[in-house]
């Protein structure tokens, strides 16, 4: 029965090829739009959370500064209040796994005839652990190297490309602010940060060297920020409280005084970001769904016409024994076939467009199974929903009226 109806439905559609194609085109465009938009939304979402994750997991960032002088408030880091000693004290907290104090700045580096402006981070070996950043060639520097005055450096892949070209950077000597540094390791490639900053365009040097040689400030031993990794995700919030308490105590702040530091919980930032990008996905999908809806109306329109045109055929079928449900099934099947074929091609077109967008316009896209399966399901549902009324109209005809109909 189903197979026979399927054959007839295909024959009926083949008899009106152009019309069937145009109707399916409406669904095709709708489904393709949904697939493309969701791919863009999800691509952005995954890209954002990847960027945040690349900063390190379970990460708290403590920044110095944010003091107020008679109502004029400085931004975070505008006053160096955090010290290496603070970082060491934080390291003593039981909930803190890794702690990395750091200073950073933009400097000119020279190797032979090449020079390049890049950012230098002065920090301790734990920094690499926190950021889950590996050294792909050479070795990282040790704790003792970090604290003593050894001039060693780890270079990011972009810096290596700019300064060394094809050469192996490990073992070479470069000049940072006129001080010679020996490159002991090449960092793994990390890609762009959320802000569009290239994370590979960086050099990491031991903290004490950076403080003394590169960013000589008037406040000895101060750092711009301290990165802290909590032992577990659940301990982040309590750790944040512990650090605040500890630092207030160490900085001798009175009960009502404001903090002279800021703590950023990167998990919270990540959650907010994924909420925002999730909304973006939904919004894009919703806008695209409108075109799917319009396609569905097209189906309904054409099916109404088809039912009217085939009134006599409906009468014949009823006269030779078709039940109302048989007639209904026949027309529903036709509309579902149209939407499903439109849907399948639409999915392929949507995926193709997403790939094209990634290649040509550098848009982040991500195609996952869920929206594709969903788009297929929705096209079946559209066929059923918008085919239902015309099919009911066909099934409810009185056989004699249908037989007498002069089309």
């Amino acid at each position: 029965m189903i197979a026979s109806l399927l054959g007839e439905a295909l024959a009926a559609m083949a008899a009106n090829r152009l019309r069937t194609f145009l109707t399916a085109l409406g669904i095709l465009i709708g489904v393709a739009a949904v697939v493309l938009m969701v791919a863009i939304g999800q691509g952005t979402q995954s890209r954002v959370s990847e960027s945040i994750a690349s900063m390190g997991s379970n990460l708290l960032i403590v920044r110095s500064g944010a003091p107020s002088h008679g109502g004029v408030r400085g931004g975070a880091g505008s006053l160096p209040t955090l010290t290496v000693m603070d970082a060491e004290a934080i390291g003593q907290l039981s909930r803190a796994a890794l702690v990395a104090p750091m200073v950073s700045g933009s400097v000119q580096v020279v190797y032979g005839p090449n020079n390049w402006n890049t950012s230098v981070i002065g920090t301790t070996p734990d920094y690499l652990g926190i950021r889950d950043w590996r050294v792909v060639e050479g070795r990282p520097f040790s704790e003792s190297e970090a604290m003593s005055g050894v001039r060693v450096a780890l270079v990011g892949s972009e810096v290596a490309r700019q300064l060394f070209g094809e050469e192996d950077p490990v073992g070479k000597s470069i000049r940072i602010q006129r001080s010679p540094f020996r490159v002991i390791g090449l960092l793994e490639e990390k890609g762009q940060s959320l802000g569009g900053h290239n994370q590979d365009d960086t050099i990491i040097v031991p903290l004490s060297m950076a403080q003394r040689q590169l960013f000589g400030t008037q406040f000895q031993g101060t750092v711009a920020m301290v990165m802290v990794q909590a032992r577990t995700a659940a301990e982040m919030t309590p750790l944040e409280g512990n650090i605040r308490e500890l630092l207030r105590q160490r900085h001798h702040l009175r009960t009502r005084a404001e903090d002279d530091f800021r703590i950023t919980n990167m998990t919270e930032v990540s959650e907010t970001a994924s909420e925002v990008t999730g909304m973006l996905s939904i919004l894009l999908g919703a806008i695209a769904s409108i075109s799917l809806f319009v396609g569905g109306i097209g189906i309904m329109n054409i099916m109404m016409v088809s039912v009217t045109e085939r009134t006599r055929e409906i009468g014949i079928r009823m006269a030779i024994g078709a039940r109302r449900s048989d007639i209904m099934l026949q027309f529903l099947m036709e509309s579902v076939i149209i939407t499903v074929s439109g849907g399948v091609v639409g999915i392929l077109v949507g995926i193709g467009l997403a790939m094209l967008a990634t290649r040509l316009f550098d848009v982040w896209t991500l195609i996952s199974a869920t929206p594709v399966v969903l788009a297929f399901g929705v096209s079946v549902a559209v066929g059923l929903f918008f085919g239902l009324y015309p099919a009911r109209k066909a099934a409810r005809m009185r056989p004699i009226d249908a037989l007498r109909y002069q089309g």
Partner: protein
């Protein structure tokens, strides 16, 4: 009491006696009325019909335009229901049946042959003939073989896969007859089966119908306004203004008398 099939064709049964409804009646109408609702109020189309048709009979229904013969045909075919009165088909009162039950009756008991053939033009001859079996939920292979056999029986075995518009009107009507026969119905209703055909082809079609009636004992009711067509039947019912004007042997009636 003899089954009517055994009496045919040699001994014609006694006509006109509608009071005694015997067990072998395939259909019987009693006190049947049909009226159509119009804006000007109900218009009666069939008035108080009393008819019984025995199994295996060949009945012609005649009457001028507007006499109600098409309406009668629709009611007999379970395409329409009477306004009042009873229509017993195969012993069952059709008046109380649901839409699906009516569809089942049409599917299993009745075979239709229309004036305009009413074949599906996009479907092959085999497909057209097999269609009633689709609605009987018969399997594909069995459907095909039944339909093929029927088409052979009406002499169209070379055109199995042709489409209806590619064959002549007479051949199309043969396909329609094959379609009506394929379910082996008890009752075949033919509405002006020769109306769209030339005289000779029409004669062939009537021969075919007559032969089917004789060979298989299927009851045959033919609506026509053509006396030459009615001549093939053994019994004539003449309707006039929704009433039965004459019910008896075909030979015993002259249309001129009506005027």
């Amino acid at each position: 009491m003899w089954p009517a099939t055994m009496l045919l064709p040699d001994v014609p049964p006694e006509y006109g006696s509608t009071d005694d409804i015997c067990m072998s009646d395939i259909l019987s109408l009693s006190g049947l009325n049909k009226e159509y609702d119009t804006d000007a109020g109900p218009v009666p189309v069939l008035r108080h019909l009393e008819v019984a048709v025995g199994e295996g009979e060949f009945v012609a229904v005649m009457g001028p335009s507007g006499s109600g013969k098409s309406t009668l045909m629709n009611i007999l075919g379970c395409l329409d229901v009477p306004s009042s009165g009873h229509y017993l088909l195969d012993g069952r009162d059709v008046g109380g049946l649901s839409d699906d039950e009516l569809a089942k009756v049409r599917s299993e008991v009745i075979g239709f042959v229309f004036q305009g053939f009413n074949l599906l033009s996009r479907v092959s001859l085999v497909g057209n003939v097999a269609l009633p079996l689709v609605y009987q939920r018969m399997g594909r292979a069995e459907r095909q073989s039944c339909a093929t056999r029927m088409l052979e029986r009406v002499g169209l075995k070379e055109w199995l896969d042709s489409l209806p518009p590619r064959i002549s009107g007479g051949q199309q009507q043969r396909v329609a007859i094959a379609r009506a026969l394929v379910t082996e119905p008890r009752l075949i209703l033919a509405d002006e089966p020769t109306g769209n055909l030339d005289t000779r082809t029409g004669r062939d079609i009537m021969h075919l119908l007559q032969q089917i009636n004789r060979d298989s004992g299927m009851t045959l009711v033919v609506v026509t306004h053509d006396h030459n067509v009615a001549r093939y039947a053994s019994r004539l019912i003449y309707l006039l203004d929704g009433r039965i004007h004459y019910d008896g042997p075909v030979g015993g009636f002259r249309e001129e008398e009506v005027a």
